[in-house]
Symmetry: C2
Subunit: 232 residues, 2 copies
């Protein structure tokens, strides 16, 4: 069973087992717990980078540009660690997609503490490379010109991360709204909706209600995403 205290989950998921006790209490003292409420809880990095740990629930990292435009950079799920960057060309905000628990640190003291424990730095480095790999795959998906490829790529990515295998296919519970998907893919909600309809009519997936999706044919979906075949 999962640990219920957010900080305990943090220790369990992120910290190496040989971590120094004093270090742990250092992290505890700089951590801030947030009872996230869907769509209304946000973390913004004012001035300096922030680190957030998603103990439970899920979040989106949004970049704000001119003219009120918003771009979803990435989604996070339980156990994910995310760096919310300070303002550059864009301003970033982390927003809860559903109720859950977040842990939140200023990046500077966080890294200062982390630097004292080699094993922890290694973990953080690995997670950073993992986020980089994800971001790259997302860039590739975004770079495609057709809406079909973008959405198919997105769905496969979600299946990898939060899909539940079933006899009829892979079940997804998409907590993000169509708007979030559109903002993540550089499309409009209408186009996203239309592509869902097309894929459903083609028998690639089933839609139930607002957030329920079952991917019936991952191979065909992968094909539409333009992914290379597994054998190659």
């Amino acid at each position: 069973m999962a640990l219920h205290d957010p900080f305990d989950r943090f220790l369990d998921v992120v910290m190496p087992s040989d971590a120094d006790k004093e270090l742990l209490s250092g992290f505890r003292s700089i951590s801030r717990r947030i009872n996230a409420v869907r769509a209304s809880s946000t973390i913004t990095a004012n001035g300096s980078d922030q680190i957030a740990f998603v103990a439970s629930g899920s979040t989106k990292l949004v970049a704000h540009a001119m003219h009120g435009r918003e771009q979803v950079v990435s989604f996070q799920f339980a156990g994910d660690l995310v760096l919310v960057p300070a303002r550059t060309a864009h301003a970033y905000t982390l927003t809860a997609l559903e109720d859950g628990d977040l842990l939140h640190f200023n990046a500077d003291p966080f890294f200062a503490l982390a630097g004292q424990q080699n094993g922890l730095v290694i973990v953080l480095m690995q997670r950073a490379y993992q986020s980089l790999a994800q971001c790259r795959e997302k860039s590739v998906t975004l770079g495609r010109t057709s809406a079909q490829e973008k959405l198919a790529g997105f769905l496969i990515n979600m299946a990898d991360r939060i899909g539940e295998a079933q006899e009829s296919g892979v079940r997804l519970h998409l907590l993000m709204a169509r708007r979030d998907i559109a903002d993540a893919l550089g499309l409009t909600i209408e186009t996203v909706s239309r592509q869902f309809t097309i894929m459903r009519d083609d028998g690639l997936l089933e839609i139930s209600g607002r957030s329920g999706i079952v991917l019936c044919d991952l191979n065909a979906l992968s094909e539409r995403a333009g992914h290379l075949p597994v054998n190659a």
Copy 2:
């Protein structure tokens, strides 16, 4: 003056000064030097991730998808360290944009060695976060719907990385071909070319020859890229 031996440059740029001597010889023994030749030298990760250090020159990291489609994920310049991922949904290749020197490691032994020196892991972590930040900004640029915003965003990013300040503006020497820019932005070479022409006619930049560009008005360019104004 810059060091001429690629490995020495690697030590100088990446390694912390307190690094263990034995460790350095360990890195030397697993390193492979490559005299990169423009457009023909490539590094592909067959099976396991690769690490490349760009001692001099510049490179592009390309993701290969179906139907021979290529997507440029990122560009590297002298001093950059890049992880070339093993095949996932896409196959990645690092290609030289101009003649230069590369250093090349298998990622597994590289990280195994790096793990022994805390200071080095910290450097690698910081570089990973830096790459992540870059990739995110690129995603945001890619997520925009208009070609104008994409190209303006790309140019500003290049100005930050390899621009030389001049009285007339910021000079860029774009080593990548129009095709590379197009592949990086999810556009066609014709559209890239047309947007260049429009921006030139609007007085935002000057074009000389195939690769010479002077950005005359960074603020206006930033505006077109949809970036938030600096004060905000």
